[in-house]
Amino acid sequence: MAIGLQRQGTEPLSHRDQPVPWLGQRLEGPAKPPWAVGSAWLQVLLPLGIAAGLALGGWTKVSLGAALLTGIGLTLRFAKPDRYAQVAAALQALGRLSGRAMAYATLIPLYFLVITPLGLWRRQGRDPLHRVWQKAAPSYWQPHASQGVSAPEPVEQHRHPY
């Protein structure tokens, strides 16, 4: 089917479409060109610095590899920003994955070596989460912390994240 012909005269919907502004919306100006974004230069200069350091330390081949990667990154960043965004997203996903793996690798031992013994010691003869039913008690409602003479003033209560 000649979809291309049928499309004549209309602009297909896409995520790049200029959205309809809501009433009162302050529209942002046109996006900055890639070279005008400070973080882009940081992303270029950092690996270049590493490459220079490696070269100075005598790691010439590794340094050339780093410089090559920087060159590819630079080209993508400025010439093909869409493609660069895809690569960056993939690298970020990889970073998240490895971050999660590292978190598990450190937090699981911490859990068994610190939290577990501490927890076992603390709950000897105690029921910290009040899981045991109080059959004889008339109610499970607890007075709220704001009740009583020692409760702080409202401003003080609201100033802290605790």
Partner: protein, 609 residues
């Protein structure tokens, strides 16, 4: 004085803005990001709120109010793991990174997000989670004095709270604490029935009338319920302390086997469990409300928290007559916490006075979201070459009513978007409630969702009593009322499992599309005062047909948030078998759109909810 309220990082993040104690804007982040129940920092809704008040780069706002106390919540997390270790290691490792990198640092996050927009704030305040719910229930209510009851999964430690509001003062008196939670109990059954926690609760509630209350005694056995509605759960049946699963093998054993898998056919047991947990939930809510009454001596009750969205329980609470008046925060879930935090800051922290006239609430019909100009919408349609008709302000209602009378399904996108989970006429899909096939058509061809789910009526406030056993307005669709006896069509009582679609298609009254199998309906009353345009449309339909109501369902397909912008509304029109779309004063008909677009957009639903 300008106060920004924020809720985020758990579920359904939102932002709202109070200017001199009046809410000028409120919106959930999901509407902008298109991620259902988006829990991330509400960057886009915050920006919308600032735009709405004309706050621009270089401005300073007076305060930001956050809807919970993260360090108390973190304390609960640590205490829980200390109480259950060595179990729960995986959950600990999964939860901790986001706590250490994000959730504990909300104050610097708020400053830096505002700084990106060139905005500064003089102060950041923190509200307790249930205090925010209670504030969202009491401060915008019409009552000068009221008892307040909040119920949800869990906040910091509290899972329910009772309070007393008097004028500008609101005090929480008592709390019920984690792990004993009505919200989590209901969520466990939601998960067990194969639905998603935090979104499937409505489905379980909608399923309840199809079942029998045969599991009530087993459910009551899971808890030690006191006369005052407080209770403790038997935690050997619940898995949410240690793992990702809400229930344990003991739970499955008690309820006759493994849980229903998502999307598997519904069995009699699933229906019976839905009915049984609904009955027990109502018992607990009623007992708690009775306790609130005896504790405060008030005639008015305000409700908030996720459980307050259980409109069947709300209807039962109203009919029980414990309180003369009941007001439920329409954004009762965590999104409404942003509003509550802002209100608590205005009245409790800053000590500003409050006026309540006993009649009108301060929610402005919940129409607090973005609005779009016809000229901008038309320019967008023109740019793409999408055909449309300009409606005349005099005849638009009759033109649209005519389409609905001809059994067309129409999307309404007009005025400001609603805040909270309900579409109340401005982002709604509407149809003819007299049609016996309408429920199935709208469920299967438009919403792509389960056929058993009932739809709500939007009825002219002045005619509601002619159809429903309801003696007061229900503008936010938060009360369930019975269809009057004389409107009903007799049905065979449901004894055992039969095909749900067959039942859904059976005529039950002279407005079958909105009558549930138990002859109930989740009523929205529409007043001229709150939404004149929607009122005008229903009035035009009434003039044509003698029926003063429309079927109203939210403008979205399954798995997607409600549409927020004209583009999203257009996409939804083209993706479904909806017939027409009202975009302000413009009418877009699906059959007039370019053929290739109909093919482009004709996809299935997004991710299942």
């Amino acid at each position: 004085m300008r106060i920004l309220g924020i809720s985020c990082y758990y579920h359904d993040s939102a932002a709202c803005l109070l200017v001199d104690g009046v809410v000028v804007a409120a919106a959930q982040e999901e509407r902008f990001s298109r991620i259902k129940a988006d829990a991330r920092f509400p960057r886009q809704s915050l920006r919308y709120c600032l735009d709405q008040a004309g706050i621009a780069a270089g401005d300073t706002i007076d305060a930001v109010a956050y809807y919970d106390k993260p360090i108390l919540k973190f304390h609960r997390l640590i205490e829980t793991h200390l109480a259950i270790a060595p179990r729960g290691a995986a959950r600990f490792a999964q939860a901790m990174p986001s706590w250490l990198t994000k959730k504990l640092w909300i104050e610097p996050d708020i400053h830096s997000e505002l700084a990106k927009l060139g905005i500064r704030t003089r102060a950041v305040y923190f509200c307790e989670h249930h205090e925010a719910h209670a504030a969202s229930a009491f401060f915008p209510s019409p009552f000068a004095d009221a008892a307040v009851l909040t119920l949800d999964g869990v906040g910091e430690w509290a899972t329910a709270s009772l309070g007393l509001g008097r004028g500008k003062d609101l005090q929480l008196l008592e709390t019920l604490n984690f792990p004993h939670s009505l919200g989590l109990l209901y969520a466990a059954f939601t998960a067990y029935a194969g639905f998603k926690v935090n979104s499937g609760e409505y489905k379980l509630m909608g399923l309840a009338p199809y079942g029998r209350p045969v599991y009530c005694d087993q459910i009551r056995g899971l808890m030690d319920l006191k006369q005052d509605g407080s209770f403790a759960l038997d935690m050997k049946y619940f898995g949410y302390l240690a793992g990702q699963q809400m229930w344990t093998p003991a739970f499955a054993h008690l309820f006759d086997g493994p849980p229903r898998q998502p999307e598997a056919p519904l069995q009699q047991r699933d229906l019976d469990l839905a009915r049984s947990i609904q009955v027990v939930t109502e018992e607990v809510v009623l007992a708690m409300a009775a306790h609130a009454k005896s504790l405060t001596g008030q005639r008015n009750l305000c409700l908030a928290g996720g459980v307050a969205l259980n409109c069947v329980a709300n209807g039962r609470l109203l009919r029980a007559g414990l309180f003369d008046n009941l007001w439920i925060q329409p954004a009762a879930g965590d999104a409404g916490g942003a509003l509550g935090a802002a209100y608590a800051t205005w009245h409790t922290v800053l000590g500003q006075s409050r006026h309540a006239d006993g009649q009108h609430d301060a929610m402005q019909g919940c129409y607090l979201g973005p609005e779009f100009a016809d000229a901008d919408i038309a320019a967008w349609l023109d740019r793409h070459g999408f055909p449309y008709t300009r409606l005349s302000p005099q005849t638009w209602a009759d033109q649209v009513a005519e389409l609905i009378e001809k059994q067309q399904v129409v999307g309404l996108f007009m005025g400001r978007m609603e805040f909270g989970p309900r579409a109340l006429g401005n982002r709604s899909i509407v149809g003819d409630p007299r049609s016996p096939a309408m429920q199935s058509v709208m469920n299967l061809k438009i919403k792509f969702r389960e056929s058993f789910r009932p739809f709500a009526p939007s009825v002219l406030e002045e005619h509601a009593a002619a159809y429903f056993d309801l003696d007061r307005p229900s503008p936010y669709m938060l009360l369930v009322a019975d269809v009057l006896e004389q409107r009903r069509t007799p049905m065979q009582p449901i004894e055992t499992y039969v095909d749900l679609q067959e039942i859904a298609n059976a005529p039950r009254s002279d407005v079958p599309a909105i009558t549930h199998v138990d002859y109930s309906a989740r009523v929205q009353t529409v007043s001229k005062e709150t939404n004149p345009r929607y009122h005008e449309l229903i009035s035009a339909f009434f003039a044509r047909t003698g029926c003063p109501m429309l079927v109203n369902t939210s403008f979205n397909v399954r798995g997607e948030p409600i549409v927020a912008t004209p583009e999203q509304a257009y996409r939804c029109l083209m993706r479904t078998q909806m017939d027409a779309l009202v975009l302000g004063n413009l009418l877009v008909r699906r059959d007039e759109q370019p053929r290739f677009l109909q093919e482009d957009f004709l996809q299935g639903p997004a991710a299942l909810d």
